[in-house]
Symmetry: C2
Subunit: 441 residues, 2 copies
């Protein structure tokens, strides 16, 4: 839906879209209220941003359904939000740190923007054993989504990019915001300046690099959101070789790496030579249930150099010091507890619970005769419905089973015909959703 005001001369490129949040008001309301316009043009980049971020659109359909069906017991397997309590040992560490801030001895002000040394060291030693990642190459943050934007600010807006298709929409959206995506082609749902690397069942969810044109930057998420599929060692070796041959930088998102159950690498830095071509962004959100607590990190290796030999890490350090002020000290204390032997052990049990959920979902969809992917190395199940559009499937599941999923096309054009089902839920919801799905046949 679009609308415009009689008092405004509409610039053609400014298509007014339905707001996705609660900032709207009726046409007549607004027309009466507007008394003054600044002379500031809207950012060309923000104007290019596709109408409606995926999740608000889903929320809207969900709310509409709930209004029409006030007694339905809705099950939400859409957004990848954790549901299980955080182990005591971790929350106790945060509570203790919070209380210490009320004491003369325990009070702390600004910490290093890059994160507390202890936590940086623990990340290096626990999660990057044998990969020669040093603590000073780790920048602690308030989460992967925030770091994706900081990496976007780091790199020149003129650089070209490639993305997996489908993948997490934040890479494309933040690329649009910094101006490297070009205009949206409404016909195929693709931004004109982005190279989409198709990852579908036919190519085992890994792009055909021999047909992929060179770009300056390559965003790569493994295990991938939404397909739940982790790239193998051999595939990542190909990816590093490809980047190296092209002089590209890989921005590798390993937010789901802790869920990997087979031999697939948990970090791009398991691949020899990757430190010369890759930045890795990761997060405590999913493996530690920190989605609302907010903690992540980014690894920028010293070996990663611009064409003129200048180390990328120095510019990233400037970005972090200028545009960020460090993650909360309370939360960092929690991060440290996550990486203690006891904390990590407790978190493995929670991850096991989610992966058992994923197994139940996989079995359910397989029993329905569907092709199912993911769910083994990542907490998402990716189900194929050939011949149907993914919004059709989404609507069917919502209307007939009162289950919220995510239409695959929300993650890119190649997600058409698929839906993503999240295993981050309570067991009883997963079991009930499975019963409802099975009844649909």
């Amino acid at each position: 839906m679009s609308y415009q005001l009689s008092c405004v001369v509409c610039v053609p490129r400014a298509i007014w879209v339905q707001p996705t949040t609660n900032h709207s008001s009726s046409k007549s309301d607004r027309a009466q209220r507007i008394e003054y316009l600044t002379k500031i043009p809207r950012s060309v980049n923000l104007e290019s941003l596709q109408n409606g971020y995926l999740f608000p659109e889903i929320s809207m359909r969900e709310s509409e359904y709930a209004q029409r069906n006030p007694h339905a017991r809705l099950i939400r397997l859409g957004i990848g939000d954790t549901t299980q309590p955080i182990p005591d040992i971790i929350t106790s560490a945060m509570a203790e740190q919070a209380l210490a801030l009320s004491t003369a001895k325990g009070y702390k002000g600004y910490g290093p923007e890059q994160g507390n040394r202890e936590l940086r060291r623990a990340i290096a030693e626990t999660l990057y054993q044998d990969m020669q990642v040093k603590e000073n190459e780790i920048f602690v943050s308030d989460g992967a989504q925030c770091d994706i934007s900081r990496v976007q600010m780091l790199l020149d807006a003129s650089l070209s990019i490639a993305l997996q298709d489908p993948t997490f929409p934040g890479y494309a959206d933040s690329s649009v915001i910094v101006g490297r995506a070009g205009r949206l082609n409404a016909g195929n749902g693709k931004y004109k300046k982005i190279v989409y690397m198709e990852c579908v069942a036919e190519n085992n969810f890994f792009p055909n690099l021999s047909k992929t044109p060179r770009t300056d930057l390559i965003f790569f998420c493994s295990p991938n959101n939404p397909t739940g599929s982790a790239a193998s060692r051999q595939q990542l070796e190909q990816l590093v070789k490809f980047a190296k041959a092209n002089g590209s930088i890989i921005i590798y998102d390993s937010a789901y790496a802790a869920f990997i159950s087979d031999e697939s690498p948990k970090s791009i830095f398991e691949i020899p030579g990757a430190k010369e071509v890759a930045i890795e962004i990761s997060s405590f959100s999913k493996f530690a249930g920190f989605t609302g607590v907010r903690l992540g990190w980014t690894v920028v290796p010293e070996e990663l150099l611009y064409a003129n030999g200048y180390p990328v890490i120095r510019d990233y350090d400037r970005i972090v010091c200028t545009c960020f002020n460090g993650a909360s000290n309370i939360v960092q204390a929690g991060g440290l507890a996550c990486l203690s032997p006891q904390g990590f052990q407790a978190l493995k049990r929670t991850m096991g619970y989610y992966m058992e959920n994923a197994k139940i979902l996989v079995e359910t969809f397989e029993s329905m005769g569907l092709k199912v992917y993911g769910g083994k190395n990542g907490p998402y199940v990716w189900v194929h419905f050939p011949g149907l559009s993914s919004w059709q499937v989404f609507n069917q599941f919502l209307e007939k089973a009162a289950v919220v999923t995510i239409p695959g096309i929300g993650f890119g054009p190649a997600g058409e015909g698929y839906i993503r089902v999240s295993a981050f839920s309570h067991r009883e919801s997963i079991l009930e959703a499975s019963r409802r799905f099975t009844k649909l046949i």
Copy 2:
């Protein structure tokens, strides 16, 4: 100091500078190690960023001094970092929220990116009484510095800007990073595309707007960091009128507003009509001692419209949803406690302590026959040393009194001849520093 590698063809504009952090290694080390360069050019914007961020430079001089004088008792009145414990009522709320995350009932995942409704409402009701600021216009964040960058991402890179001179360096630095500052003129220390609005004793620290050229954006900090001076109601009325006549947007930083002791406005939104021309960024860092805890907010009024009538708030909402994922839920619980009657009362006592420090500093410098500004509406004291350079004064205070301050020129060319002294310290340090300063005469 600059250095370069023999194996690298040095692009002329790429001047290699001494790193400001610990990522450096010796020349021979690096030369041996470099085996591969990507083909990615360094961002033109980051190349334009002035060598050495102020605070790392000060740290370096401080460390050098400490090495030369291992027994000196250094007093740090430089960086504006809080030192007093946070009241129990606030840390208890955070501890309680942390522990609740270990329970099935109390666990929470992602919160709204814009902040929890309760906190947004409390900010609106407590800090924006009678200003018609609505809760949905408040975006809770992890701090003002982070929000400055998000506002920079919001607004088109081609827009022109004006800054107070002197002021917090983050406005200029983040402007450079997004590409709206142009090149640095090494001769006068100014970026070519920035309009510097001189704020010195002669104009009562408020710019002469009749001589200020029109810009699209105006960053304005009040009480200003570093001068400690708050703009009066009449001055802010002039500023709003000026912005309105020019169709500009004011980005108003009120991070120190809670320290105001006279009738100066605590928010730009106390000025009628400001909602049509201003965004306000603020923070819990200073008034609640949250520098390491991380919490802030930004107000984007619904009435603020681009030239084409599109509401700025909708784009800011997209920025927040795409580039940020909300402030920590534990920290937000602390923010809510800060705004409770008891919490706010306790914080007032801490602010009173810092302002008593400021009074001691003002009296000390006045007793030395110096012209002293600030210290009444803000926790910074701004001392004038006509005829001396501010780095000279900095060095004198460091070498002869073992006190770290900040040279005024670090905040802009018009800060030359001044130093900033922070009142955010322990009382005994303030008293000891005062004794040492007095002895210098």
